[in-house]
Symmetry: C3
Subunit: 245 residues, 3 copies
């Protein structure tokens, strides 16, 4: 029961690369471009129209690009107007709203909800159930874990939103809250269930609610005394410095 093109709907205005596989019941809208050798699994919607589609008779569908070698898992929805690099991967039921710019080798996990106008660098990853507010900016190699939320509205409800920015290599553990407009530097470790309310300098270990700086991550050692951070020395799965073949 491999890809059988059962109930697949592909707009004639979409551009599908060579070697692309499309799962059952998937819909590809107008002006979607999918790179070579990508796999779009069952029940996905690629190029979901933005709100004006439902009210504007002259609606023009913004282009959505997904690079080569993607693996987009079932029930993922990617809106119109997104630009996504190569080797992209999603979990199931991932949602990526309009006008997002996502680099190469990124992962958006199951049930993660990326609001519009989000920027992600290369090799960044959202685990399951991460919520990124509209306008969030993630650098490269940023990993965020389940039930963590980046917010953009300090005194809700308002229209004066400002989303967080997260520096390269930073890790944000589960169930953390990053408050509006906060800048977290590079190479930080944000603890589980932390609430980060102020800017964070590079290499900070942040714990608690509200989060306090508990030290420099470079002081964290494994049992054998080797430093744990920066983590690039000890983790390479899927990273550009990997030795895996």
């Amino acid at each position: 029961m491999k890809f059988t093109n059962h109930n697949v709907r592909i707009s004639p205005k979409a551009s599908i690369g060579s070697g692309v596989r499309i799962g059952d019941n998937t819909v590809i809208y107008d002006n979607v471009i999918i790179g070579d050798n990508s796999t779009i699994c069952n029940d996905c919607i690629i190029g979901e129209p933005v709100s004006e589609y439902y009210s504007d008779e002259n609606y023009i569908q913004p282009t959505t690009v997904i690079g080569a070698n993607a693996l987009v898992r079932s029930h993922t929805m990617i809106y119109a107007g997104c630009t996504i690099g190569s080797h992209f991967e999603t979990g199931h039921h991932a949602i990526i709203r309009e006008q997002c710019t996502i680099g190469n080798h990124c992962i958006i996990g199951t049930f993660s909800d990326v609001q519009g106008h989000v920027t992600m660098g290369n090799y960044s990853r959202l685990h399951s159930s991460v919520h990124l507010a509209k306008g969030s900016v993630l650098g490269n190699f940023v990993f965020i874990y389940p039930f963590t939320v980046l917010t953009n509205d300090r005194f809700p409800p308002s229209l004066e939103t400002k989303a967080p920015t997260i520096g390269d290599y930073t890790q944000i553990c589960v169930s953390a809250v990053i408050l509006p407009g906060v800048h977290i530097g590079a190479n930080c470790l944000i603890g589980a269930n932390a609430t980060v309310s102020d800017d964070v300098e590079d290499f900070s270990l942040m714990l608690g609610s509200p989060a306090k700086r508990k030290g420099d991550v470079r002081e964290l050692k494994a049992e054998d005394g080797t430093p744990l951070y920066p983590w690039t020395a000890r983790f390479d799965r899927g990273m550009p410095w990997t030795n895996a073949i």
Copy 2:
């Protein structure tokens, strides 16, 4: 690739208003009534049968009503027995269980999970990934943000549940927990990651876990000194006092 009625299933016992659009792969069960000019997007299930459907041969499907001018986004599921007003809107994958009563101009966001027998007034909004326990009561103009949960069981597991009640205009920020039976008054602001364990009087600012009263929201000022709350003076998007056309 507009609404093509591809793989749409509509019960002959459903009542569909004029100008209604139904997306691909959507199922409308018996005794569903959909108001004029509503849009039900792809892959929705409206009138999902309740548990007895699977075991009771004499099952009678309760009526579900969705008012006029709704926009129900893809993969939303609304159970049998719900009554929903006009101008209703959902995100993707929203779930509304049986016997909910929802007013006009309400929004239920992506991945939000409204357990049964919930009451919402008019103009109330759940952002993404909000969980409302069975029996929760929300007033009018109540906004709740991602990963916040209203609970109803103080000593689980039990069958003696009591859900929270939330007053008009109150805002509950991300990742908050509202404990069983708590009454939160009108015009309150509940902070991110707060755990609210006791009743809260009107106009309270509540922060922390367990949450403590940190002042009156009317004392919160913008940088130019204008008061931030009540928020009705500064926010009107989609509100009845809007000047938008």
Copy 3:
């Protein structure tokens, strides 16, 4: 509009018991075995192939077994390689990754995300939006509530993961975080929004972030003075000691 076999895809290599009902648009992959009188609702995927499927030409689909009398609700996805007992029940959009072993009478709620290689005993229940890290171990009669997460990586990212283990009868309330490798004993009550960082002895009441032991659950009394825990004396819905017919 009962089960009409509309757009249902069942592999000829699947084994479907007698009296099984399959909802619209559902896909059953190779080597899936479904026990008698089970109901698989709309839009489910049972036996979702694991990653190697997409890259390995010699991929062999691991067997997935779902026991008799299951009720698997719509949009649930169960991966290849899972073994699940009888009377299994899911909410909507539940996800169960590969190589999970789940006992009899278990429930996995709406939007819950069970990563691979998880073990659950009998009569254990995940409410909505629970995230279990890969390798988590739950005993019997363990109930976990919304937005709670079990984690397995103390210094992310790493490949040296160790998931929590949870003893029989323990209840973990909403929005809690269980840190990697923690063992929670039997008959514990973990409070809402708690962060559990160390092992917990049997019968402990744990509150706060980081969680502290606040007493023995056997000291908790109802208003009439009867003890609330162990809860088996006061709750029997769906339990083997129920008197319900």
